[in-house]
C-alpha cells in the first residue's frame, strides 16, 4: 500500500482539535498520526498513561478522542490495556461483541521507560494483541521537566540542572527500544515525525496490524523541556535522525532492519544546538561534552549497523 499523505489527511480525524497540548508539542501530532494508521471501519480502544497527553486531551467533560479511551494511572497503561484486550477476547468468544477492535496504548517516557516499565514488560511478555506507543520527550514534562531514564546525558532538566559543579544529566539515555526487542515480540520499531510522516504512519500501521504485542518508540520533542520555538519541531526531529541520535529502524520477528541511513551523518551538535537544554554544552571550555555525546552516538550507531540487515 503506497502512502499518500493527502489521502491520509482527508480521513476523518480520530484525535480531534480542542485539546490543550502546547503549540510545537510532538504528542498531538503523534496521536493524530497513530489514529490515522487505523483502517477505517476498525474500532479501537486507546489506553493512556497519566501524562501531558492525558491531562490535555480528556478534561472532564470533554474528550479529544473519537474512539473509546481509558486512563487509569501513570504506571499501568500496558496492564490496563491488557485487561481491555482480555475482556475483548472473552466477550468475542461468548458472542457479546461483534466489532473488530484494536488496542492502542500511549505513554510518555516517564510512564514507559520508568514507572510503567514493569507493567509494559509484563504485558509484552504475556503476548496481548496490542500496541504500546511511547511518545518519548525525554523527561517528565507533565510535572515540569524532571529527568527520566530517557533523558540524554548533558541535558539540563529541573532535577539535573546545570550549575557550577554540573553539566546537566550525568547518565546516558536508556535504550528502551533494544530492551523491548529483547522481549522477542513480533514487532518493535523506532520512529519520529519526519516530512510527510510516512515513516511514522507505516510503522504505526504495521504495529497495529501485526498480531500479538508490538512496541513503537517515537521521539517526540517538547518545546518547554527542550527549549525551542514551536516552528522548529520538524527541524529538530530531522536533525535527530540525520545525526543518528535517533536512528529509524524496525525489529520484525527478531530481525533488525534499518529504515533510513543518512547519506552524510551530521555531527551531533547540529541536533544539540537547536535546543536550549544543551546550551551550556556550547560554552567555551565545555567542548568535551559535545565530544563525549558524539562518541556515544557513534558507538551506538555502529552497534545498530552491525545488527541490521
Amino acid at each position: 500500500m503506497a502512502y499518500n499523505h493527502k489521502i491520509e489527511l482527508n480521513k476523518p480525524e480520530r484525535f480531534v482539535g480542542g485539546h490543550r497540548l502546547c503549540a510545537g508539542c510532538g504528542a498531538g501530532i503523534v496521536s493524530r498520526a497513530i489514529m490515522r494508521a487505523l483502517d477505517e471501519g476498525d474500532r479501537a480502544v486507546i489506553c493512556n498513561a497519566t501524562s501531558c497527553l492525558e491531562v490535555s486531551s480528556f478534561i472532564y467533560p470533554y474528550t479529544a478522542w473519537e474512539d473509546s479511551y481509558i486512563h487509569s494511572a501513570f504506571e499501568n497503561a500496558a496492564a490496563t490495556c491488557g485487561g481491555v484486550e482480555a475482556a475483548y477476547r472473552a466477550a468475542k468468544r461468548r458472542g457479546k461483541v461483534k466489532d473488530h477492535f484494536k488496542f492502542l496504548t500511549i505513554g510518555g517516557d516517564g510512564g514507559t521507560y520508568d514507572i510503567g516499565f514493569q507493567s509494559l514488560s509484563g504485558a509484552m511478555e504475556r503476548g496481548h494483541d496490542m500496541v504500546y506507543f511511547c511518545y518519548d520527550n525525554e523527561a517528565y514534562m507533565n510535572t515540569g521537566i524532571q529527568r527520566s531514564s530517557a533523558t540524554p546525558r548533558f541535558a539540563n532538566a529541573t532535577t539535573t540542572p546545570c550549575g557550577t559543579q554540573s553539566e546537566g544529566k550525568k547518565q546516558n539515555k536508556k535504550d528502551l527500544t533494544e530492551i523491548l526487542a529483547a522481549h522477542h515480540i513480533p514487532y518493535v520499531a523506532q520512529t519520529t515525525m519526519l516530512g510527510n510522516l510516512k515513516d511514522l504512519h507505516k510503522k504505526a500501521h504495521k504495529a497495529i496490524y501485526t498480531e500479538g504485542p508490538a512496541f513503537v518508540n517515537i521521539l517526540s520533542p517538547c518545546p518547554r523541556g527542550w527549549q525551542y520555538a514551536p516552528e522548529n519541531l520538524p527541524q529538530i526531529c530531522r536533525m535527530a535522525v540525520e545525526t543518528c541520535v535517533w536512528p529509524l529502524y524496525e525489529v520484525i520477528d527478531g530481525r533488525w532492519y534499518l529504515s533510513y541511513e543518512p547519506k552524510k551523518k551530521l555531527p551531533v551538535e547540529e541536533f544539540m544546538r537547536l535546543q536550549g537544554r544543551f546550551k551550556h554544552c556550547f560554552k567555551p571550555g565545555n567542548e568535551w561534552t559535545i565530544e563525549e555525546a558524539q562518541a556515544y552516538v557513534d558507538e551506538n550507531w555502529e552497534r545498530l549497523l552491525e545488527k541490521c540487515h
Binding site: 474500532r43 472532564y60 474512539d67 504506571e75 485487561g83 482480555a86 472473552a90 466477550a91
Partner: protein, 399 residues
Amino acid sequence: MSRRDRLSGNEAVAYAMRQINPDVFAAFPITPSTEIPQYFAQYVADGQVDTEFVTVESEHSSMSTCIGAEAAGVRAVTATSSCGLAYMYEMLYVAASARLPITLACVNRALTGPININNDHSDSMGARDAGWIQIYSENNQEAYDNYLQAMRIAETPDVRLPIMICQDGFITSHAVENIELEDDQAVKAFVGEYEPENYLLKHENPLAVGPYDTSPYYMEHKVQQAQAMKNAKTAILDVAADFARTFGRTYGFFEEYRMEDAEAAIVLIGSTAGTAKTCVDQMRAAGHKVGLIKLRVFRPFPAEELAAALSHVKAAAVMDKSEGFSGCGGPVFADTRSACYDLKERPRLINIVYGLGGRDCAVEDLERVYQYLLRIARTGEEGPVYLHMGQRSLDKEVL
C-alpha cells in the same frame, strides 16, 4: 440440589468462581490467597470455565487488568492478601471512582513490617476508605455464600462499586470444613448476567473512562460515590433476602448472637466469631448475660443498625484485628463508637486490639474480655479504653 462437601475456604471461593465463570481473572500469587488462582488455573486447564486467565506480573497490574476489563464491559475478578492488596491501593481508588463492580477475594493477612504471613485485618482495613464494599466471612460457608452474593450487590445500577469478599487467612482459607455447595445452574441463575449500561466495547457509542477531573466536577463525582455506598446498604439486604429465599441461608449487615438481654457484648469481625459463640454459650450456661455481634458488612458501615443493636447493652468491647495506629483505637472501634454517639443511653465502650499477625485468640481469652465487661457493667468504672490483648508485656496485663 445442593450438596455437602468438605472444602477449604480458598477452595470454596474458587469453586464459586468456577460456577460463575467470570470473563476475566487477573492472577498473581501471594500467601495465603495463592490457592484461589491455582484452583482456578486448573479449571481453565480442564476446560471447566472459558475465562480469560491473565497471569500478570504484580498485584498492581492485576487490579489494573481488572479495571481495563470491567470498563470494557465484562466481569473481572482477582484474589489477593496483605502486601498484594497494599500494592493495589492506588488502583483500588481508581476502580471505585470509575464505578467498576470488580470482585476481589481478599484472604486477610497481616501487612508486612515486619513480614508475617498469618491472619489479621490490617490489609483490608487499610483499604477501608478506598470506596470498596467490604464483606467479611466467619467460616468457609460464609466465604462461599458471600462470594455468590458479591456481583449482584456490586453491579446494582445505583451502586456500581467494587466489592471485596474477605476471609481470615489460614484460619478459614486453609482449614477444611463441611460446606453446603449449591448447584451450578442455580448459582448461575442467582448471579445472572452482567449487563452494564456503558462500556468501552459497546457497539452503539464509544466511552471515555478516567478523565482529568477539575475542581468544578471532582467533588460532584465524590458525592455520587458516597451516595452509591449508601445505596449499597439496600442492595446488600435485597440480595441477602433473595439468597435466603433461593438457598435458605440468611445474612444481614451483622449477626447478633444471644444479644436479646445481653448486658455485655463483643463486636468483632471474621473467624473469631466462632470462638466467641462458644464462649458466649459457656458463659450463658454459667448465668452470665453476654452476647456477640459479628460484623459482616464493614463498608458501607451499618451505623444506625449497629447502634440500635448495642443500645440495651451496658458494656461492650469492640475487638479490632488490626492496629490502625490512630493512637486511640482500631478502625472498627472508631466507627462503632461514632455510631453509638447518637444513642440516648450509650453502652460503655472499650477497644481491644487482638490477634495481630496470627496471634491466637482462644475461648478463655474472650472469657476474660466478657468478665472485664461484666465488671464494668457492675461497677460503672471503665478504666483504660484502648487495650492490646495477648501480647508479652512487662507491664501488668489489664486483660
